[in-house]
Structure formats: C-alpha cells, structure tokens
C-alpha cells in the first residue's frame, strides 16, 4: 500500500494488551485518515461517556504524513469531548505524527484505563506500557524532556491529569494542542504520555508527479499574501491577524460585550516582534513555520490565545499574556477556553481580571484548586453556577474563538453548525469574509452563506483527514492536494471526490451528535449576539445579528445538508449506508 501504513496499533490500558491490526483498504480510501479515520473508528463508541474507560482515544495521521507534501505532518486526536459531549477531533502539529508513521502505523486506538499512570512507548514494531508514577504531576515541558530520548512525545500536563474539562494534549515541537478537553480523557485513562519512534519510510506511488504537485502548492503559497506575504503568517505568525481584526471591529472584548479593543496594539504582530525578536518554528517539515518562539525557546502565543487573554479579559500587557500562554502550555490547558471561561467569570462577578491575577488563576485551574475548581469546568458550567447562563460565550459549550460573529455572518453560522461546538476552523469563513480568499464575500450578509459554509465544511473535513493545514488552503486548493494524494497513493482522487468524502465525514459526526440528543436547539449563538450591537466606528456599523435572518439561513443550511428542520436526520439508517 502506498501512502497509508495500513496498520493500526490498539492498546487496552485496562488489561495491558497491545496489538496491531490491519486497517481495511476500503475504510482508508473512504475516510482518508486523520479526522475522518478517527471519526469512523468512533462508530459504536460515540455514545459512551467521555470518561467511561471503554471510550477510545484515537491518534490518527493522514496518508500524506511522511511524504514531502507541504504541511501534512499533522494528526488528529479524536474522541468524545467531556466539555461539549460532541464528537471531537483536534488537529495538531509537531513531530509526533511523522514519528508515529515511521513506526508503521496510521493510528493509535487506545481504550480502557490503567490502574496507575503509564506511558505508551512505541519503538518501531514493538510497543509497551511503562509505569509513569514519577511523571504524574509533571508539567508538559518536564515530561517532554524526560521522554525525549525515546522519540516524539504527546503528553498531558496536570490539567489533563486532574480532569480539567478543557485540558489539551500537547505534541513536542507542536502548536498548542487542541480543544474540547481530550487531555482530560487521556488523564482519566491515566495515560501520561505516548512516545513514538521508528525508521520506516512511506512508499510513494509516483515521485515525479508528487514533486510537480508539491511545486504547484509552493507556487500558490508564494503567491498568497496571507501565507508568505511580508505581513503574513510566515513572518508574524497568526498574531498578524491582531491588527486586521481590530481594524474590522470584530475583536471579542470584555467577554464579547464590545468588539473593539484599543489596547490590542500592545500585542500586535509588530509589537511582538519588537519585544521578543521571535524565531520561526512550526510543524515538522512545514514550509510556512507560523509558530514563533523567543530566542530562549519560549513559545509565543497564537492569535486566539493572545486575543482572549488580551481583549476578551481587557488586558493589554503583552508580557502577562505571554506568561499566561506559557502556563497553558506547561499545564496543558486550551488557551481559548481558558481565556473565555475567565472572561465569563469576570463579567459574572462584575470585575475582569487584572494582568497580575492571570497567571495564578490559570495555575489554579490546572490544579483545580480555589476558584480554579469551578473554572476548570469551562464557561457554560461556570455561568450556570453563577446563575447567569447567558454569560457563557459558547456554542455547544465550546468557547468561541477570537472573531466576533457580529462582524462576519458566515462565521456566525459556522460557529453553530460546527460539529465540535463553537469553532472557526471547520468552515474557516475567515478566509473569504476577511482574508478575501478565494474571493471576498460580504461579511455583513447571510446571502449564499448556507451553501458556502456547507461546501467549506466538507472541504475542510477532507483537509483535516489528509491532515494538511487549514492555512495551506489560503493559497492552495483541493485541486493541488487531490493531485498530491493521487501521486502518493497511486489512486485517482479529485477535488469533487474529496469533497464527497468530507461530506461523509461531516455527516457521520453530525449523526453521532444527533444520536446523543443534539438538535436545532444547540445550533445557536449566545443571546447577546442577537440583542446587543458590537462597537461601531470608523465608518463600520456593527449591529446585532438579525435572529430571523439567521434562522432562515440555518434552515437553508439544513435543507442543503438533507436534514430535517430540527437539524436531525430524516432516516435512522445513515451509518449503515456508509463504508
């Protein structure tokens, strides 16, 4: 088999059994890998409680991982989210995916729960569970350091061990790992870390064809102002967006009470550059290298983290924000949910945090002590316990990222139709509503957005299953990646077949959610966005979202998806008809 390893490594932490199985070729072709494969493998497990021992925790790479395909050294961690109750996949970068593929497996499928802390070590064809009592309680950098000799590491920090509902899983050399609290799922299994290493290479069907297609992609990257432009993310990282989103007056500020934060100029891309002289870093082999580190190796925050510890909490002090991000990376916290939970709490008690309070409170969350005990549950549960449920700025309990939906209506819809809750990456409407790619759409209009969002969700589900990076598609398109996939696997794929695959993956996720009781009632924004306007100014009017128009577009979306007006499936046998 070309591209895929064709093998999955299964681990039962309860019994300690570890074994390899062959992955059926038709499953790989139909779900590609990464998110798609993980979602398919969740079938039958999708209604388990996220903290039930039997729930699988899946690490799945894509067929392009291990090849020269740009931005493809990523993987998806898939399970059911304890924060949202939805199916959840987290695309993450770093070296881990590459190393896992080198060990000859497309995916790890981990069930059960160990009675004591363990590390799963995979070295080539062998794999073992190693007691890790001494690692339990260690921060993520400490864990990486002590395991680095054995290979690439995916680990949880204290937050995951302690069951923080938005705990993340971090990969060494990678981006801040993931939303939805899958770190807590790993913690419940008492799996501190996975270390992988191997020496296998990925067989490629047609090297010359791959080389040509990669060149096409690189040419498009170079033609893209957002990717390789002098103000783009290769230069400044995602904080390149800070100035732009402020200028568009859609910066979530003070728990989304306002949409403009003058203080954001303190932590803009150029401000970070002045302050830290950042160096480029990023996923293994990625030409873009959008992560930035200080010369001492400290990872600098990405856009959403910086904006949520900044504007959302009315904090403009850059060093405090960087420190907050570092704590999240050390303890294994999703910075977006952390920032948004703190801001909801701040608004609820009538006072936002000061910059000085931020680091200590984040540590309290990670260790679930003091106020951190409550805050570790995420904004929805916090706001409910405060008696002000409307203050949780989340969809399906997943805290919204740093783009105010009143400033982009496709984004508003996409937050609600995302299968893992309020996330901008599933349909990435930022691309056309703000960044003008492939063409600009009117951000203050719902016209056409239902279908645009549907198409983008399908495309991105395919992208997340190839495990290429969302940012790559600000330059390249599925045309070039279909060509790459065909060259690697020796099977013919087209953009249209990839979108169809993406649709299958998307609908499978939706079906799981519906099976677990999600309906139209969950596809809604917090009330605030329908009733309070944003911060107009500079000739930009930011009204509240017209609820009737939103509902109309949501219903169009359901019709395009073939769903009922309740957002559910008109027939029960959907899964049975899928490969």
């Amino acid at each position: 088999m070309n591209g895929w390893a064709g093998t999955i490594l299964k681990v039962d932490l309860t019994s300690g059994r570890i074994w390899r199985e062959t992955l059926p070729a038709e499953i790989l072709h139909a779900y590609l890998g990464g998110r798609g494969l993980g979602v398919r493998l969740m079938r039958g497990f999708h209604s388990l409680d996220p903290f039930a021992p039997e729930i699988p925790l899946i690490f799945a790479a894509g067929p392009l991982c291990g090849t020269s395909a740009p931005t493809s050294a990523r993987l998806a961690v898939v399970s059911r989210s304890p924060l949202t109750g939805t199916i959840c996949d987290c695309p993450v970068g770093g070296r881990f995916a590459w190393s896992m593929k080198s060990a000859g497996v497309d995916a790890l499928f981990i069930i059960g729960a160990s009675s004591r802390p363990v590390v799963l070590r995979v070295a080539g064809d062998s794999a073992e569970l190693v007691p890790a009592d001494t690692l339990w309680g260690k921060t993520i950098p400490e864990t990486f350091d002590s395991l680095a000799d054995a290979g690439s590491v995916a680990a949880i920090g204290p937050a995951g061990e302690n069951g923080v509902l938005f705990a993340s899983i971090m990969m060494d050399g990678g981006d801040g790992g993931g939303r939805g609290g899958l770190g807590a799922v790993m913690g419940y299994k008492r799996l501190k870390a996975v270390v992988v290493n191997g020496a296998r290479t990925v067989p490629i069907a047609d090297h010359e064809r791959l080389e040509n297609a990669c060149q096409d992609v690189m040419r498009l990257f170079r033609a893209s102002p957002v990717i390789f432009g002098e103000l783009g993310i290769a230069e400044y990282g995602t904080p390149a967006l800070v100035d732009l989103i402020r200028q568009r007056r859609m910066v979530p500020t003070e728990n989304f009470r306002r949409t403009y934060f003058a203080g954001s100029c303190n932590y803009s891309g150029p401000a970070i550059r002045r302050e830290y002289q950042p160096q480029r870093d990023g996923c293994y082999g990625c030409p873009i290298q959008c992560l930035k580190r200080t010369p001492l190796g400290e990872q600098l925050p990405e856009y959403d983290a910086i904006s949520h510890f900044g504007a959302l909490n009315a904090i403009s002090d850059l060093s405090s924000i960087v420190r907050a991000t570092t704590i999240c990376n050390e303890l294994g916290l999703d910075a977006i949910s952390a920032g948004a939970t703190l801001s909801a709490w701040g608004e609820g008690r009538g006072r936002f945090l000061t910059a000085d309070e931020l680091p200590g409170l984040l540590a309290d969350i990670g260790y679930r002590r003091g106020d951190g005990e409550l805050l570790s549950l995420g904004s929805r549960r916090v706001a409910e316990q405060l008696g002000t449920p409307g203050l949780s700025m989340s969809v399906k309990s997943l805290e919204l990222p740093a783009y105010d939906p009143r400033g982009a209506y496709g984004m508003a819809l996409a937050y609600c139709t995302s299968n893992r809750g309020g996330c901008h990456l599933r349909a990435y409407p930022l691309s056309h509503e703000i960044l003008r790619k492939p063409v600009a759409t009117d951000r203050f209009s719902f016209s056409g957005k239902a279908r645009i969002i549907k198409i983008a969700e399908d495309s991105n589900a395919a992208v997340d299953s190839l495990m290429a990076c969302t940012f790559a598609f600000l330059g390249a398109t599925l045309e070039e990646y279909a060509e790459i996939l065909s060259a690697v696997t020796g099977m013919e794929y087209s953009p249209q077949t990839l979108r169809e695959t993406g649709e299958r993956i998307y609908l499978t996720e939706r079906f799981y959610n519906c099976d677990n009781g999600f309906t139209v009632a969950d596809d809604h924004l917090p009330e605030r966005f329908y009733s309070e306007p944003g911060s107009s100014g500079d000739g930009i009017e930011v009204p509240a979202i017209d609820r009737a128009r939103f509902d109309e577009e949501l219903q169009k979306y359901y019709r395009i998806r073939g769903l009922t007006s309740e957002g559910t499936f008109p027939y029960p046998g959907f899964l049975g008809r899928q490969p």
Binding site: D216, R219, L220, R222, A223, S224, P225, V226, F228, G229, E230, L231, G232, Y236, A240, L241, V242, D243, L244, Q247, S268, G269, P270, R273, H432, I434, L435, R436, K437, P438, V439, A440, T441, S447, G448, A450, R451, I452, K454, I455, D458, E479, A482, S494, P495, Q496, T497, R499, E503, K556, Y557, R559, I560
Partner: protein
C-alpha cells in the same frame, strides 16, 4: 443572487469577453436558479445541480480562440496547457470537451471535469466556469480561461501560423472589429504629487476603473498603488480594478501594523520599487499582447526550461526591460525593481506589465498604454512575417 448575476452578465459584455445573447448563469443556495440564454441556461443548471458549488457561467466567448485551440490540437489530447504565469499558477491546465464527447457525455461528463478544474472549454458551447463560493468567482474563472485562451492562441499562431479553415477570416474580424485602439486620450488624471489620503484613495479607484474601461486589462487581475511620505496605498488582493472603492489598504512603510495582510500579493514588489527609486505611483496589469510578447524569446540554444521562473537575463522589447519571476514572494519582487527605474516600465515574463509615475498616474497609465501598443504592433508585424511564409489553409 439575481443582482449578482445581472452585474456579472453586464461585465462579460462590457469587457467584450462573451456574446451578450449567449450568456447563461446558474446559482444555488437551497434552490437552483438559472437565467440567460435558454439552451446554455439549461446546461448550466444541469451541470451545477451535480456540483457542490454556488454558481456557474456558460457563455460563448466573443472570440473563437478557445474553440480554435481545441480544433488545432491533435485528437489524443484532452486539455490545453497555457504557458502564462497566471494560468500556470491558478488554473494549471484547461480541460476541453470536443463536440462529440460532449454530446456523448452530456452534463454528467462536464460536471465531472468541473469537479476538478475551475473552467472547461466546450466545443460548440463556449467556456463553462464554476464559482465555488460566489457568482463573482464564476465570472473570474471564466475571465481567466478567456485570457489564457487568448494568450495561448496568439502564441500558437506565431509558432505555427493558421492551420484550419476560417482562422484567417476570424482573425481579421478580431483585429479589425474586436480590438479597439488603445489610448489614454480624454482621461482626466489628478495632478500629483498626491498627498491627501482621501485624494489618493479616490484617484487609485478612478485609475483602476480607467484601466478596465479602456480595455487595457481584465477587471480582476492587476494591482495599483500610490505612495505618500510614510504609507503605500495599495489595492487589496482579489480586488477588481474597476471596483476599488473600499478595497485599498494603507500599508505603512515602517513595520508598525499588519492590517495590510489583505493587500495585493505584489505588495513586496511595489514596496521595493518605491524604496529603490523615485516613483510615486505604480500600475500593474496583464495586458494581453504584452503577456504574449514577453514570452517571445529569440535566445538560441538556451538550457533554461522554466523561463517564466528561472530566466536570469534582462531582455528588451521596444526599450522595455523584460525579466522573469514568480508571483508574490516568488521572485518578481526581486527582479522588477532593479530594472524599472530608468524607463518607469518593466515586463514580467508571461505575466504582465509594471509602470510607474514619478508624479502621478497620468505618466504610469500612458506608459502602460505605450507598452501594450508597442507589443500589439510588434505582434502583428511578426505574425505577418510568419504567415507570409505559409500558404493559407484551404
């Protein structure tokens, strides 16, 4: 969406790329709608209904070049491979369907092709192009295929002459009917140097419109800027030159803000031209004869194959320097600034023209007209020479 469709129908007519009574659009959100010439509208609907895309245009081009390209190609081929940079970068190759294949495969086959590519040439129908996200995108893709076919056909004529009956007559119609004299006469430009932001924004938008109205460039491709003391005002990426109101980014020379992340992909080239010379304004577009002529290289026994990217030489066309270089961060930002200073004009291999004005847009606009007119005349001169050597096709 109907307003969008009528807007882009009018654009196709105004830029002389499609025949008014042979244009049809289809668009869909939760329902499918079609409009325009009935036969093509039916086809547009049949195809779009099979695709996951928002809009589709099917129209007969105002020139038969795409059709001629198909008929000139040997029977085994299924796509044309243009050599201009824009098409190489964004469209790769352009598939076509011969009449017999289309009659056999119908909308099903056409949908399959459009599932892979942004536009397809269909013999007897014209150009069919799809917009995944907007009606505008379908128009842009149509326009790209039209541009690519135009350039490729003119290149092929220089290489191989007329090959099939009807070509010389059609070409005469093109030359004497479709082509309009290119001139800056009658246009009003603000006298520079421009310093007020409001004046700059309005002049950039006005001049952008001029370039399209005068047929110098296609609406969607190209960029334009004007500098003040500390800021470059530049058209945004994916902006139409004739609709720049609200689509101009102020980018400070000092690295103080990244709001210009949405600026044209050629921002780096513009910046370097300003930094290394005395230009106040820059105009960049893809006038068709300039693109064609930039690829006519007389160098013999040259080992370079990817000339558009790798050619290190500076050639001259009518006094205008020609350099190679990819779009964006790829290369033209390095190669254009050193050669544009003296004459205020430069050609980029297989891509287009940059011109500058030391004071205002009058100079830059006239320079671009002159470059394109020179290339136009030179093209016809060379073609006459080429066709003199050949007997007309029967």
């Amino acid at each position: 969406m109907m307003d969008q469709i009528s807007k882009y129908t009018n654009k196709l007519v105004a830029d002389h790329s499609a025949l008014r009574d042979r244009i049809a659009f289809a668009a869909q959100d939760d329902t499918l709608l079609t409009t325009g010439e009935p036969e093509r509208a039916r086809l547009a609907g049949d195809v779009l209904g099979r695709l996951d895309a928002l809009a589709l245009v099917a129209a007969r081009p105002a020139l038969p070049f795409a059709e001629f390209l198909v008929r000139r190609i040997s029977s085994g081929e299924s796509c044309i491979i243009p050599r201009d940079t824009e098409t190489r970068t964004f469209l790769h190759d352009i598939p076509f369907l011969r009449r017999s294949d289309y009659e056999a495969g119908g909308p099903e086959l056409l949908a399959r092709l459009l599932g892979n590519r942004k536009g397809v040439i269909v013999e007897g129908v014209g150009i069919v192009a799809v917009g995944a996200v907007t009606v505008e995108q379908a128009y842009i893709n149509y326009s790209s295929v039209f541009h690519a076919a135009f350039v490729k056909y003119l290149q092929d004529l220089l290489a191989d002459g007329f090959l099939i009956p009807g070509e010389p007559a059609a070409f005469d119609d093109f030359r004497n009917g479709w082509l309009r004299p290119l001139t800056a006469d009658g246009l009003v430009f603000r006298t520079g140097p421009l310093v007020e932001p409001a004046a700059i924004l309005s002049e950039v938008a006005t001049v952008g419109r001029y370039t399209v109205e005068r047929g110098l460039v296609d609406s969607f491709f190209g960029n334009i800027s004007c500098r003040s003391d500390d800021t470059i005002y530049i058209s945004q990426t994916a902006a139409s030159l004739d609709e720049l109101d609200g689509c101009i980014d102020p980018v400070p020379f000092a690295p103080t803000s990244t709001t210009g992340i949405t600026a044209s992909s050629e921002l780096a080239a513009h910046r370097r031209i300003y930094e290394t010379g005395d230009a106040r304004v820059i105009l960049h577009g893809h006038p068709k004869f300039s693109v064609v002529m930039s690829m006519q290289c007389d160098r013999e026994e040259c080992g370079i194959t990817d000339c558009w990217r790798d050619c290190p030489y500076v050639r001259y066309l009518g006094g205008t320097p020609v350099v190679a270089g990819e779009i964006g961060a790829g290369g033209l930002a390095k190669r254009v600034p050193p050669v544009i200073g003296e004459s205020g004009r430069a050609l980029v291999y297989g891509h287009g023209v940059f011109t500058t004005g030391r004071r205002d847009f009058a100079e830059a606009f006239r320079a671009m007209v002159e470059v394109e007119n020179w290339c136009r005349n030179e093209y016809f001169r060379r073609l006459a020479e080429r066709t003199k050597r050949q007997a007309p096709p029967a």
